[in-house]
């Protein structure tokens, strides 16, 4: 009890120094939590991948199309339960320089696509309305919120991969089954895309971007992938089949340099927290050399000294960490609002919070280590002679 009381009084002895240290730790912990959240958001698609879904794409690159004729052949491979397909559409919505206007636009098979993605929650009425209209589209709830879109509204798109003026009517709004589902996408009929392309670029007709396979048993994924790719090995478009997670991971790995940089920065931040706190604790312990010597003279034991120095370090680290975490929530929230569609799933995860707490506790312990050892090793007689 005495040690706790003295820890508190010591921490408040230099109020400005303690406040600045707490603020420094708070900002560093907030930055750490924020960067970890971005790294997590970057790989949100990987985390949200289904265990039974696979993707078949062109063996050379994702940007080369595959013939629609592959669908039935893939469906006949043993172990494949369902097959659907999709196409990246691209295009520009309003001002292309505004991040808010970027969102994924996909042409999908209206009959099968949503069966393979049960995480997109849609009402029967929306699905029926979507199927009935040639240029209908379904959009995510977050996208609808961000742009104030509702059923019946028109979405004009200026085509780039598929040139021309496109106009889609919102006929459905899906919600994600949980927070990890991207609610910023737009889906429309692949048939509509194929028909329009056929009018101007007949050579591009009958192509899809990739196939989505649902397998009955996840244990068979390796065999299914091997059989699909072997089947098309000598075709005009060889394929590469992989799990949805691997497919998503390949996109994330394109940004691996950025992600690695962010991870390195987060480690540097841990170092900064440690240095800021260690500086304060080393100074405090040095200033109190004589006081610690007096306490040892009076019969106080090493664990009292450990409690005094370590306790002050932990107190500052924990208060700074708590401040940092409290700041992280609004900062992450503000970031999510600024880039709603570029980072569709921005969530401060429990693991990030636990990591931030662990970083603060680690800094508290590590910063106290050196001054505590030095104080314990110093002779009482030397300590009594020390000048603060």
């Amino acid at each position: 009890m005495f040690v706790l009381r003295l820890v508190l009084k010591n921490a408040l002895r230099h109020k400005l120094r303690t406040s600045l240290t707490i603020l420094g730790i708070g900002i560093a912990v907030m930055s750490f939590g924020f960067i970890r959240t971005i790294v997590t958001a970057w790989s949100a698609g990987v985390e949200a991948s289904a265990a039974t879904r696979m993707i078949t794409r062109h063996a050379v690159s994702f940007i080369f199309p595959l013939p629609l004729a592959y669908r039935d052949k893939i469906a006949r491979i043993p172990g494949v339960d369902q097959v659907s397909y999709a196409n990246w559409f691209g295009g520009n919505y309003k001002d292309p320089n505004d991040w808010k206007n970027f969102f994924p636009r996909l042409a999908v098979d209206d009959e099968t696509y949503f069966d393979l993605y049960p995480e997109f929650l849609l009402s029967t009425e929306d699905v029926e309305a979507f199927k009935k209209e040639r240029n209908a589209c379904i959009i995510g709830a977050k996208l609808a919120r961000e742009h104030g879109l509702k059923r019946g509204d028109l979405i004009p798109i200026d085509g780039d991969i598929y040139p021309g003026e496109w106009e889609f009517v919102v006929r459905g709004v899906y919600r994600g089954k949980d927070a990890t589902v991207d609610e910023t996408q737009m889906f429309f009929h692949w048939q509509y895309l194929d028909e329009r392309v056929g009018q101007t670029q007949p050579m591009r007709v009958g192509n899809v971007g990739w196939y989505i396979l649902n397998v009955k048993n996840p244990d068979e994924m390796a065999r299914v992938a091997q059989e699909v790719d072997a089947f098309f090995l000598n075709s005009r478009a060889a394929t590469k089949t992989e799990t949805e997670k691997e497919f998503q991971q390949s996109f994330v790995s394109q940004s691996s340099a950025i992600i690695s940089s962010l991870e390195i920065i987060s480690i540097i931040i841990v170092g900064i927290i440690l240095l800021v706190l260690a500086n304060t604790i080393v100074m405090a312990a040095r200033e109190r050399t004589r006081e610690h010597a007096v306490l040892k003279t009076l019969g106080f034991r090493p664990f009292h000294v450990i409690g005094l120095i370590g306790g002050e370090s932990m107190l500052i680290a924990i208060v700074g960490g708590a401040l940092g975490l409290a700041l992280t929530f609004p900062v992450v929230g503000g970031f999510a609002e600024s880039f709603p569609t570029f980072f569709p799933v921005v969530e401060l995860q429990i693991m990030t919070i636990l990591l931030a707490v662990a970083v603060a506790v680690f800094a508290g312990v590590a910063a106290a280590l050196f001054p505590t050892i030095r104080t314990l090793r110093s002779r009482i007689a030397d300590g009594l002679r020390a000048v603060a």
């Binding site: 004589r290 007096v294 007689a381």
Partner: protein, 221 residues
């Protein structure tokens, strides 16, 4: 004998240089004695005091205090022995600045099994004895040098120690305050029969002692 120092030597090491401080010192101090150790700076007075108080160890020889050979105690035993047997008065008072006079005096009692109520009683008695019963809630900053030293003396006597060691107790005080402190120490010796070993440069302070010892270059003269 309350204090028996036999053939004690002590040297300090600075880098590779050995600096002898005490050379084969032997002294005996009976119970209730008030001993003043005098001598020029660097003569080894404070080192001898530290050895008697158990906050340093001799290189050779033995120190027996009230029947306990403290040179044989380990760090943990020594800390407990100091808490039970020695009261310390320092030149610069060495009070903890964030604690009140009451809390500073209470410090040594926190290591005992006394209840809060008993501790309060002891602290109040000690502060009353040094004439600061009305300053219990004051922090060192709110006290004069003489008052701070009186709080330090209250802290030294609150556990009713066998021996009080005082290192230049008047060294940082004006003449009047120094006189008050010496009168207080003399009273502790005569009325409460405390054995006191005091290091001082001040001849007026030394006059209050019953016995003088003069150290020069680590030897008694």
């Amino acid at each position: 004998m309350m204090i028996e120092v036999e053939n004690v030597s002590k040297a300090y090491h600075r880098d590779s240089i050995e600096i002898p401080v005490l050379n084969n010192i032997s002294i005996s101090v009976p119970e209730g004695e008030f001993l003043a150790l005098m001598g020029p700076s660097g003569s080894g007075k404070t080192t001898l005091l530290n050895l008697i108080a158990g906050i340093d160890r001799p290189d050779n020889g033995s120190i027996v205090i009230n029947g306990t050979d403290i040179s044989r105690l380990n760090e943990s035993q020594m800390a407990r022995w100091r808490a039970d047997n020695v009261g310390f008065v320092f030149q610069f008072y060495n009070l903890l600045p964030v604690l009140t006079a009451f809390e500073n005096v209470e410090l040594p009692l926190l290591l005992t099994r006394l209840s809060k109520k008993e501790r309060r009683h002891h602290v109040e008695s000690a502060l009353d004895l040094v004439g600061l019963g009305d300053r219990m809630g004051h922090t060192p900053k709110q006290l004069s040098g003489g008052q701070e030293q009186r709080v330090a003396i209250a802290r030294a006597i609150v556990t009713d120690p066998t021996v009080i060691v005082a290192d230049e107790p008047t060294g940082d005080l004006d003449k009047v305050s120094a006189e008050e402190i010496m009168t207080l120490l003399e009273r502790l010796n005569t009325e409460y029969r405390k054995t006191i070993v005091m290091v001082t440069h001040d001849p007026r302070a030394a006059e209050k002692a019953h016995k003088f010892m003069h150290l020069d270059k680590g030897e008694l003269s």
